[in-house]
Assembly symmetry: C2
Homo-oligomer: 600 residues x 2
Amino acid sequence: MPVYNAPTRDTRFIVNEVLRLDSYGNLPGFENATPDMTDAIIAEAGRFVSEVIAPINLSGDREGCTRHPDGTVTTPAGFKEAYRQYVEGGWGTLSAPAAYGGQDLPHVMGFIMELYLASANQAFAMYPGLANGAISAIRAKGSPEQQALYLPRMISGEWLGTMNLTEPHCGTDLGLIRTRAEPQADGSYAITGTKIFISAGDHDLTDNIIHLVLAKTPGAPESSKGISLFIVPKIIVNPDGSLGERNAVTVGAIEEKMGIHANATCVMNYDGAKGWMVGEENKGLAAMFIMMNAARLGVGMQGLAQAEVAYQNGLAYAIDRRQGRALTGPAEPEQKADPIIVHPDVRRMLMDAKTFIEGMRALCLWGALQVDLIHKAATEEERQAADDLISLLTPVIKGYGTDMGYKIATDMQQVWGGHGYIVENGMDQFVRDARIAMIYEGTNGVQAMDLAGRKLAQNGGRAVQRLFALIDAECAEPSDDATVRLVAERLGKCCGEMKAATMWFMQNAMVNPNQLGAGAYAYMTLTGIVSLGLMWLRMAKVASAALASGGADAAFYEAKLTCARHWATRATVDAGALRRQVEAGSETIMALTPEQFAIA
Amino acid sequence: MPVYNAPTRDTRFIVNEVLRLDSYGNLPGFENATPDMTDAIIAEAGRFVSEVIAPINLSGDREGCTRHPDGTVTTPAGFKEAYRQYVEGGWGTLSAPAAYGGQDLPHVMGFIMELYLASANQAFAMYPGLANGAISAIRAKGSPEQQALYLPRMISGEWLGTMNLTEPHCGTDLGLIRTRAEPQADGSYAITGTKIFISAGDHDLTDNIIHLVLAKTPGAPESSKGISLFIVPKIIVNPDGSLGERNAVTVGAIEEKMGIHANATCVMNYDGAKGWMVGEENKGLAAMFIMMNAARLGVGMQGLAQAEVAYQNGLAYAIDRRQGRALTGPAEPEQKADPIIVHPDVRRMLMDAKTFIEGMRALCLWGALQVDLIHKAATEEERQAADDLISLLTPVIKGYGTDMGYKIATDMQQVWGGHGYIVENGMDQFVRDARIAMIYEGTNGVQAMDLAGRKLAQNGGRAVQRLFALIDAECAEPSDDATVRLVAERLGKCCGEMKAATMWFMQNAMVNPNQLGAGAYAYMTLTGIVSLGLMWLRMAKVASAALASGGADAAFYEAKLTCARHWATRATVDAGALRRQVEAGSETIMALTPEQFAIA
């Protein structure tokens, strides 16, 4: 069975040494996040996830969820008990506000838990993960009564929640939705329509499920400007908080999918179900984007998470499996063959994986810190900077993070050779589960357009200029360490390619927006490389200083510098190619007619 | 249900206009391959495969193969009847020698059929596909008696065959095999051991299955120099050709795999089974490589084949699905949304796919022509050139072809968004089936080492120099057509990068072979890009001439030129990055200890 050990050592490195969480102790919510406290949470989270959640990942994939003849849905063996322990441990409340029973710790701590959960068992992690999106929307747009009625029990995990956006004929283009909301005399709405692809749509983990549903009120505009958001509980919650009647929402079917089998992806039928509007009429899209942005960071972390667990299992096999001999002569002549970790091409895949994983982990946790700083940083300038940076990089974390997650899960399956293709070894599950993250919460192509078509131009390009300034400043710092200088030099070059690509968009996309659409994906990948480079430069500086100070754990810091060099010499080489892809423009892409595409 | 239309128009373009098969009419076996004849075969093959083989692809994936309590194995519904029609149509005999009942046509024709079959139904295609490997080995190394006894009925398809190499502890490193072959008084051997991952290991398609099995005779050397090859029929064939006793070979289990569910991947138990040696004792590896080289080209074609069928279905969805509006304003304002083929990022994926597919199809069929020319070309120089080129490019067709096949199957699933993740739509099957091609018949990492570590250095680098000379000559030809000039210029630059990478290996790998191992994969990919570029240059020249001549089908030839430009401006940009990856060398790749890799 696959293994998973939460990467606690590296997490502590990021939290304590790279992000220096303790240096924010003057900000609200950070005062309790001392290294002692965060180290203890990281250790305990790692233990819980590795011991309780990881062991039901493969079995959950094999068994899947079941819709019974009476319409009820059950999760695979062990899920209900594991979820009970998750709630009991208060694991969903780490970064939630104290006002609703949360622990009020920085978002970094909640992200760490999400990350560990998604590595151990992505299908399981999605149950609380989707609820987080629903919680965000109610926190941002719900009335005080709605917040009081729903949030405490959603945050504690007593109830879970879902996001109901997609319909059979509409996914990305939510203006097309047909689900109707008829106003009722009591101030509620009767919701009628069919939603598909609803993750965690029904299950046996909680007594109630709070569905957030996009629908159109009578006479609403046809476009996405006519969408409203509704709370539709599975069991209606009485004003005193007690559970009332079963609502008219049922599961039509569970979809049979390529992966994440242990999460119930449901067709949801709303037949005049009772719902309550969240926020203003026809302003549902804005509320939905609040859910979505939180969810997109979460999905980006799923990419990283699957890369991490796949890497651990790829590495274990590379150390265990013996086949062939080192190119430089037998490494273990007393054995009939060497472990395959002697082979450079196996090591190439492992190093590419390790370098992505450690860089992306730093980027995700740095992103979580920005989420806090948006509200909590001392100055308006710092708050705006945090908002600019995380808004810009959310589609990159989602898009680049999940592309790479899938690539690395595939590479790690490759390390296993034929045995990686056999279901019982679990390597194919990582690939199949990682695959969905490139699709949901907006396909990665949609992320690319969000970045290049929306985030780049906002406020006159302020966010991307901020990123460039940050990188230029980091690269300009002098260093005695050859690795740090190498990383700075290569990052500077990558950033130069990104600047050139940005300039090309500015000069060409106004005239013809297809020039932007054609290059957006390459631009997103380029931004991903640059963002990880910034993290590698910071990590190299920290590791270099730690080694210079002669402290403990030299092997760890030396490995960091090796990884930084690997990133600098290997990942950066694509930057120029990506810039040239942007500059190739849209001519060949837009030229063919559908009929010419179809000639076979 | 997914569609498949065999790409007959483009196949005829390659056969008649690019390869000009009729210009080889003076060579044995080519005299019958007139355009009339080959066009008719292509049309009929396409019809048969699209109508008979494609419709049982998705259902075969869902049902899989079954091992019954009595140890027999059955294929999914419809497979037996489809195979009967395949045999009746003589489809396996196209390129087989007349001496054994074949039609003696050039290999190009057999390859076309293999390609169509693998697009329509990879799991089905593997049944005759594996038999082809076994046939090759018996043709090359079998005694005249063995050839007479087995080949006619294997070529007709009355019997199928398998290749038994892998054991639980040994895949790539065949020197480790433990299966024993004890000589018997009657000249046969008693074969005992367990083989795993045996594709088409048992089934109900034919009355007999001819297993080719690697085993060790008593006292054989421990390394791969101690391996012999044996024919082990499922039902023993009497010298008069009648079927005798059931042999002591049984199916221990059918593996549960990520994909190719409709092909029975068997654990085979040999318990003193009767076998007959093929070729010389301890020379089994050479015979095995004959099977393997044929199989590697076949597997490379599987990558292309899955890309092709995935592309057809991605395209169909992009034309059908409406979501959002063109960036330049509504394309179909009377509809509520435009078809997603208006979006540049969707078109980017379709164009990348189309460009790979058409270039790779040309490369594979050009490769098939070389297979004929090795034996049939008029001069020794031409025969040697063909052998050099196809030996060099076999690992590239396998490695690069299947990497890209998987990438494109993934991209086409991406075009489908969430619906691509739903099993009943069939897009995920293309990804899961394409995945195995990167692994079997030698992982793509093994292909990279075969190319960079073996083929490159053979005969003082003669093969790669031949490829360079070919490309230089093609690029140097003057042209009035701007597209042809563009492709030539970019191909020349790519080829320059490949020359530089080759030079770097020559200068660095002798001192430290890990420098070769670390860069081999990037080198393989670079060679793939260059090889496809050569095909695109040739195709661009043909298309340009056809348009200049003012003949029919201008839309087809114009699309060719657009695709050529797309290749030239987009695929080539990676060449420099790959060269720099080679030059990055092995330092960071070889540096970490297993313990450092494992720190989490």
